[in-house]
């Protein structure tokens, strides 16, 4: 599979995402924000970072980049797009995902490992996550508090668009396990069509035993499975 990893000024998880895809045995290449084509990409990763310095609002400026027109077209055609951290913020600003991400409740930048409970397994981003399996993945963000208005949230629930919630080690979604004040502990969501997803945690930083967790692989392996190919064995 070919993954296109977008690169905005001040993206800083772009290389990590490329590396993780290669570790998974697939190819990935960077696509500069001024490019208006994604080439022959099978899937798109909008990586983490601080695109355009997070000026105005996180993701607000990146959203108008030429490459985002191509991403919108790609998503409209049913292509798989995943936004991680700042990428999630960009996809929300671009209206490819519902809701918005605001300042953490604590006003602190939170950088730690969290547990995620998968709420909906019927998506191209979660299908390979075993039932009951908690994902241990890192977060690193200051503005990851998910918000959507009551009507949007109700609609998202009806469509099973909430993919992941923060939980404790026992799998309980509690206020203590919520690192940023996100509404109902929401860590990641998808669109109604289920081909665009975003999450604040960093699965690309949890793909190798050296990094303390390989749980992030399950998310990419789900995408790869959906794209019709089994993931290759872990390199080295």
């Amino acid at each position: 599979m070919n993954f296109a990893v977008l690169q905005f000024p001040a993206s800083n998880c772009d290389q990590d995402a490329v590396h993780a895809m290669r570790v998974l045995g697939h190819s990935a290449r960077l696509v500069w924000h001024k490019d208006s084509s994604l080439g022959d990409a099978d899937a798109v990763i909008v990586p983490g970072g601080f695109s355009y310095g997070d000026y105005l609002r996180c993701g607000a400026i990146a959203r108008f980049s030429p490459v985002m027109q191509a991403v919108k077209q790609f998503a409209d055609n049913g292509g798989l797009v995943i936004g991680i951290c700042n990428g999630f913020q960009v996809l929300c600003e671009a209206h490819l995902l519902p809701g918005a991400l605001i300042r953490n409740r604590s006003l602190q930048f939170r950088c730690e490992h969290v547990f995620l409970k998968t709420v909906a397994h019927d998506s191209p981003f979660t299908s390979q996550i075993p039932a009951g399996k908690l994902l241990r993945v890192p977060i690193a963000h200051g503005e990851g508090c998910y918000f959507a208005d009551a009507d949007t949230l109700a609609q998202m629930k009806a469509n099973r668009q909430i993919l992941w919630q923060y939980c404790n080690a026992q799998g309980d979604v509690t206020d203590d396990a919520n690192p940023n004040g996100a509404l109902e502990g929401i860590a990641g969501v998808c669109n109604e069509r289920r081909n665009v997803a975003g999450l604040m945690p960093h699965p690309e930083r949890a793909c190798e035993p050296l990094l303390g967790s390989t749980d992030g692989r399950l998310i990419f392996e789900s995408m790869i499975h959906a794209l019709g190919q089994k993931p290759a064995a872990l390199a080295a």
Partner: protein, 80 residues
């Protein structure tokens, strides 16, 4: 001519900055503070000879599309 835009968080949205500032004001002894909301102020200098009505319309659109996020923010636009 200038466009002055005040962007504030919507009432339903968590505003931890507002809450923290409110608590600081209370600690400093300022009584009667019922609520604080921290937002943004954007000032746009308009070129001489700009048509006021056209500017109002264009900047209003920009506020909705770009300068504010209607999911979480309200804005007030004034041209003077």
């Amino acid at each position: 001519m200038k466009a002055k835009i005040i962007i504030t968080p919507k009432k339903a949205v968590l505003d931890p900055q507002g809450k923290t500032v409110q608590s600081a004001l209370e600690h400093m002894g300022y009584a009667g503070v019922a609520g604080v909301h921290v937002g943004k102020y954007v000032e746009i200098d308009l070129a001489p000879g700009t048509d006021r009505a056209a500017a109002q319309q264009a900047i209003n659109e920009a506020c909705h599309r770009f300068l504010s996020n209607p999911v979480i923010e309200d804005y007030k636009l004034e041209i003077e």
